[in-house]
C-alpha cells in the first residue's frame, strides 16, 4: 500500500468512528431523561461535533502538504500560548518579551523545522529564548514578582511552542526505509494520544469509581486509565503498518505515548488549577480551550520524537547535521 492509500484508509476509519459516535450521541440524547444526564450527553455531543471540525482541519492540512501542516501547528502554538498567557498574571513590563514570544519565537521555531535545521530547532528556545526573554523584561525596569513572571512565561513558551513543535518535527526525521512517509508517523502520534484521551474519558464515564488525583484532576479514574490506556496501546500496536516499527515496537511506543499523555494531562491540570481556572479557554466547544485538547500531546510529542530519532535514524543522517546543507 502506498503512503497515500494508507492515509485514506486512516481517514476513512476515523470518519467511520466519528459517525458511530454521532449516532450513539443522537440515540443517547433521545433517551436522556434527567437534567444531569442531558447535560452529560450534550457535552458529549459537543465534543463529538468539535472532533469532526478538528479532524477536518487536520486532514486538510495533511492533504495540502508539509508547509500547511507546519502553519497549522504554529497556529495551535499561537492559540495555546494565548490561553496560557491569558491565565498568567503578567505586567506591562513583560510586553516586549511577550511580543517576541508570539511574533518571533513561534514563526522561527516552525521555520527551523521547515528548513530541517535540527540543531538549532533543539536549542533555540531552551538556550536563546531562555536568556533573551527575561533580559527584555528586565530592561523594562519592573522588579515586582520578576522571577515569578519570568518563570511562568518561560514555562508557557516551553510547553506551548517548544513541546508542541516536536509533533510536526517528526517530519524532519530521516528514517531509513520510511522515506516520504513521516506524515503518517505524525498521524500515528496524534491518533494514539487522542484515542487514549477519548477512551479514558469513555471508560471513566462507564466504569470510573476510584479517583486517581481528586484534587488536581477529578475526572481521572483508575478504571478509566486502565481501560482507556490499555485499549489505546492495543490500537497503537495494530497501527504498526503506518509506522517504521514492528508490532512489538509499536506497542512499546504507544505505551510511552499514552503514559506521557496521561502525565501531561495531569501536570497541566495542576498548572491550570494553580492559575485559578477549570478550563484553559472556550475555543473548542465541549472541550474547553485548545490546551485542554493539547495537554497530552505536549508531554508525549518530545519524548516520542527523541525515542524515534535515537532508535530509528542513522547517526550520519541529514537531520544530525549542524547546519542544513553543510556536511
Amino acid at each position: 500500500m502506498s503512503p497515500q492509500q494508507k492515509f485514506y484508509w486512516l481517514i476513512g476509519g476515523i470518519v467511520g468512528l466519528l459517525a458511530i459516535a454521532s449516532v450513539i450521541g443522537f440515540i443517547l440524547r433521545r433517551r436522556a431523561q434527567s437534567e444531569n444526564a442531558i447535560a452529560v450527553v450534550d457535552n458529549l455531543n459537543a465534543r463529538v461535533n468539535a472532533w469532526w471540525s478538528m479532524v477536518a482541519v487536520f486532514t486538510a492540512a495533511f492533504v495540502i502538504g508539509t508547509n500547511a501542516t507546519l502553519v497549522m501547528f504554529a497556529l495551535i502554538s499561537f492559540f495555546a500560548l494565548r490561553e496560557f498567557i491569558t491565565l498568567t498574571p503578567t505586567r506591562a513590563g513583560d510586553h516586549r518579551a511577550l511580543s517576541l514570544a508570539f511574533f518571533v519565537l513561534i514563526p522561527v521555531q516552525y521555520w527551523l523545522i521547515g528548513i530541517h535545521w535540527y540543531a538549532l530547532f533543539a536549542i533555540f528556545i531552551p538556550v536563546y529564548a531562555f536568556l533573551l526573554l527575561p533580559a527584555l523584561s528586565a530592561l523594562a525596569e519592573d522588579a515586582e514578582n520578576f522571577l515569578e513572571r519570568t518563570a511562568k512565561i518561560q514555562w508557557g513558551i516551553m510547553i506551548t511552542i517548544y513541546c508542541i513543535s516536536h509533533a510536526p518535527a517528526l517530519l524532519l526525521l530521516d528514517i531509513p526505509g520510511y522515506e516520504g512517509q513521516n506524515a503518517l508517523l505524525l498521524f500515528y502520534l496524534v491518533l494514539v494520544v487522542q484515542l487514549s484521551d477519548v477512551l479514558q474519558y469513555v471508560f471513566g464515564k462507564l466504569f470510573g469509581k476510584t479517583k486517581i488525583a481528586p484534587i488536581v484532576s477529578p475526572s481521572k479514574t483508575v478504571e478509566g486509565l486502565i481501560g482507556g490506556a490499555g485499549s489505546a496501546i492495543l490500537i497503537g500496536a495494530t497501527m504498526w503498518w503506518i509506522t517504521p516499527f514492528t508490532p512489538m515496537q509499536s506497542a512499546a511506543m504507544a505505551f510511552v505515548i499514552v503514559l506521557m499523555g496521561f502525565l501531561g494531562g495531569l501536570t497541566l491540570s495542576a498548572v491550570k488549577r494553580s492559575l485559578g481556572a477549570k478550563d484553559w479557554g472556550t475555543m473548542i466547544k465541549g472541550h474547553g480551550g485548545i490546551m485542554d485538547r493539547m495537554d497530552s500531546v505536549v508531554f508525549s510529542a518530545p519524548i516520542f520524537f527523541h525515542l524515534t530519532r535515537y532508535f530509528f535514524t542513522l547517526a550520519d543522517s541529514p537531520s544530525f547535521q549542524l547546519f542544513p546543507g553543510l556536511n
Partner: protein, 200 residues
C-alpha cells in the same frame, strides 16, 4: 468593507473578543454601549463582538484630536469603523462637542462610547465624564448597555504600539435603568458601577 473585515479579523486573531451577554441580548433596539477604556483596540474589540447586522448600525465614537490628525487615521476610523468623531478639546467654543453624536442618534444609529474619555492603566474604569449623562437625558428611549472589556489593558497597555495576544471577553451587562430627576454625578457613578458589575 474590506478594511472593516481586516480590522475585525486581526483583532479576533489577537484577542478573540468573544461576546458574553449577561442581562441583555443582541436585539435591534437603539442603544448606547458604554465601556471601560484601556487600549487602542477597545473600539474594534467591542464592535467585532456585535452580530454583523447590529454592527452595521452601531457607530463607535472616536476622539477627533487623536484619530482625525492624519489622513491614514481618519481613513481607518471613518471608513473602517464607521466612527463618529468627537471634538474633545473644543476647538470651537460655541459648538456643542456632542452634536455629531446627537446627529447619529437622531438617524437611529446606536453608539459605542468610552465615558472615561481617555485610556486607563488599570483594569477597572476611572471616573466617567458627563457626556453619557447628557445623551441619556436627551434620548430617554435609547437603551444604555454597560460593557466590560476584559484584559485589554494587559494586551496593549498605554504606551505600546502592538497588542500582545491575550484573550479578551466582551461582557455585555443588563441595561442601565433610568431614575427620574437623578443628579448627574449619581447617574455617572451608577453607570460606572454597572460597567464594574459587568466585569463579574
Amino acid at each position: 468593507m474590506w478594511l472593516s473585515s481586516l480590522l475585525i479579523g486581526t483583532v479576533r486573531l489577537l484577542v478573540g473578543a468573544a461576546p458574553r451577554w449577561a442581562g441583555s441580548s443582541p436585539t435591534n433596539a437603539q442603544r448606547i454601549y458604554f465601556a471601560n477604556h484601556s487600549s487602542h483596540i477597545d473600539t474594534i474589540a467591542l464592535w467585532s463582538a456585535l452580530p454583523p447586522a447590529l454592527r452595521a448600525r452601531t457607530r463607535p465614537v472616536a476622539a477627533a484630536d487623536y484619530w482625525g490628525t492624519s489622513r491614514l487615521k481618519r481613513y481607518v476610523v471613518l471608513q473602517g469603523l464607521n466612527a463618529v468623531l468627537i471634538d474633545r478639546s473644543r476647538t470651537d467654543p460655541n459648538a456643542n462637542p456632542l452634536d455629531p453624536l446627537f446627529a447619529a442618534l437622531d438617524r437611529g444609529d446606536s453608539l459605542i462610547i468610552f465615558p472615561e474619555g481617555t485610556r486607563q492603566h488599570q483594569p477597572l474604569p476611572g471616573a466617567f465624564k458627563s457626556g453619557l449623562f447628557h445623551l441619556a437625558e436627551r434620548y430617554p428611549h435609547v437603551e444604555l448597555i454597560p460593557v466590560y472589556l476584559e484584559n485589554l489593558h494587559r494586551s496593549m497597555p498605554k504606551g505600546t504600539l502592538m497588542p500582545v495576544p491575550i484573550t479578551c471577553t466582551v461582557r455585555f451587562g443588563a441595561p442601565l435603568q433610568r431614575i427620574a430627576n437623578e443628579e448627574k454625578q449619581s447617574f455617572l457613578n451608577r453607570a460606572r458601577d454597572a460597567v464594574i458589575g459587568a466585569a463579574q
